[in-house]
């Protein structure tokens, strides 16, 4: 069973619909007590909005502590969009705020004279093929992005994307923790396929 963390930031419903489409059972967790059943084998941290209030929401609901314990037990987490950013060391959005500290880098505003938010379908350049089997590495696939802040390329970068020449991390991975800056659940059949393969790759 996959647990989708509902901490008041983002559309958990669409993540759940996507999981159901790829025949994965899921449950929406509106409190950390949902972990007590022992049925949850993977957590998804979704999210749209701003980093600081989202981090505060995680803290108020006790998710920051539960997630840290979960992660130190080497259990899988998938962060999507803001959820991926929350897994980083921190973000400069709204003044520097500390994150969950998994991915080794801090999130910053995408620099340069570009239109923000970065909205639309963009490509991912895979740095490794650990997450994408069957030759996805050589294939040009588009995924749906909506964000203004991003993680620069770092030690955990698995895939990058670029906007007006600015390169940032669009896929991050450290152990069984994976982050997508884009929305696989809104990226059509290609996104659903990636979601399915990623969960398998995470051992879920």
């Amino acid at each position: 069973m996959i647990g989708i963390i509902d901490y008041g930031a983002g559309n958990v419903g669409n993540v759940r619909r996507a999981l159901s489409q790829i025949n994965r059972e899921s449950v929406i967790l509106d409190s950390v007590y949902g972990l007590c059943t022992g049925l949850i084998e993977c957590l998804i941290l979704p999210g749209v909005g701003s980093f600081r209030p989202a981090m505060e929401n995680l803290h108020i609901r006790g998710w920051d502590r539960s997630l840290s314990e979960w992660i130190s037990d080497d259990r899988p987490v998938l962060g999507i969009c803001l959820g991926m950013q929350l897994l980083c060391e921190g973000s400069e959005e709204g003044g520097f705020t500390k994150g969950l500290g998994v991915f080794r880098g801090a999130v910053g505003k995408i620099p340069g004279p570009v239109k923000l938010p970065h909205v639309g379908w963009n490509t991912v350049n895979w740095v490794s093929d650990r997450l994408c089997r069957e030759g996805r590495m050589g294939k040009v696939s588009h995924y749906y992005f909506v964000h203004s802040y991003a993680l620069p390329a770092c030690a955990d970068t698995e895939g990058t994307s670029s906007l007006d020449g600015e390169i940032f991390t669009s896929v991050a991975r450290r152990g069984r923790i994976v982050g997508f800056q884009f929305h696989p659940e809104r990226s059509g059949s290609v996104g659903l396929e990636l979601l399915s393969q990623t969960l398998e790759g995470m051992g879920v």
Partner: protein, 255 residues
């Protein structure tokens, strides 16, 4: 590379998709969720639904069809038409819509843009604006489906709306809409160069070259209705043509 988006627009009345040329003569075209899925499979990058019954009766149906669309659509969609409070916007997003669009209500109450942005984030707030040309380089904002003049200058309005927190502009030229003679490229260029957010061009698409012109004028996305609904233009073929013309577009892998 970020691609240019192709967006079919569906007008919904009492839960059914209808299409009017110049917002009049309506013709039934079916079930919103079924059509949405069809467009997703054809390669649409996003969908926009405008509930044209929303401002009068039939608003109650919105909550039903938005959810049925969300159940079958795995690409982003925007819902607009008659949204007059941030709570209503939040409810629509909670049902599965990715964005909401505000038009008349944003003009009569600009604070609504800020309230929706605070509640949902700017990325979920699209300002839809209907513009009518006043001179070579100025346009006026029209409201209530393009039927009422406001005397408000288009460029100052879109700049103000961006400062209030809208994350995208859906720009419809009332002069071009329904003509199939091409987008108002001067209007697109003027708006696109005055705002820091993406611009979706709408009104006048009749052939592939019109889309090319809109993108060259600075549009980040182009929206059309009748040419897609009546099959005059097929999205897959349109994207292949645009790709051949060096416009970056997303072409489905199995195409």
């Amino acid at each position: 590379m970020l691609t240019k988006r192709i967006i079919p627009c569906l007008d919904v009345q009492e839960g059914r998709v209808v299409k009017g040329v110049r917002f009049r003569e309506l013709r039934d075209a079916g079930d919103p969720a079924a059509l949405a899925e069809l467009y997703m499979k054809e390669g649409a990058d996003e969908l926009v639904f405008l509930d044209i019954s929303a401002s009068s009766a039939g608003r109650g149906t919105m909550l039903e069809w938005v959810e049925t669309v969300a159940d079958r659509l795995f690409i982003p969609f925007t819902v607009g038409g008659g949204i007059s409070s941030a709570e209503q916007a939040r409810d629509i997003v909670a049902l599965g819509a990715d964005k909401i669009s505000l038009n008349t209500s944003a003009v009569t109450e600009p604070g609504l843009i800020s309230r929706c942005a605070a509640l949902l984030g700017s990325q979920a707030v699209v300002l839809a604006v209907d513009a009518r040309r006043k001179s070579k380089s100025s346009w006026e904002v029209m409201i209530k489906g393009g039927s009422i003049e406001t005397g408000i200058d288009l460029l100052s309005w879109v700049e103000h709306a961006c400062s209030l927190g809208c994350g995208e502009i859906l720009l419809t030229s009332m002069d071009s809409d329904g003509t199939l003679d091409g987008f108002d490229t001067e209007c697109i260029e003027a708006v696109s160069s005055s705002v820091p957010v993406p611009v979706i061009a709408s009104g006048g698409a009749g052939n592939t070259l019109h889309f090319l012109e809109a993108f060259l004028a600075g549009a980040d996305a182009a929206l059309a209705a009748s040419v897609f609904h009546f099959g005059t233009i097929r999205i897959g073929a349109l994207k292949k043509d645009l790709d051949a013309l060096s416009i970056p577009v997303r072409i489905l892998e199995d195409d």
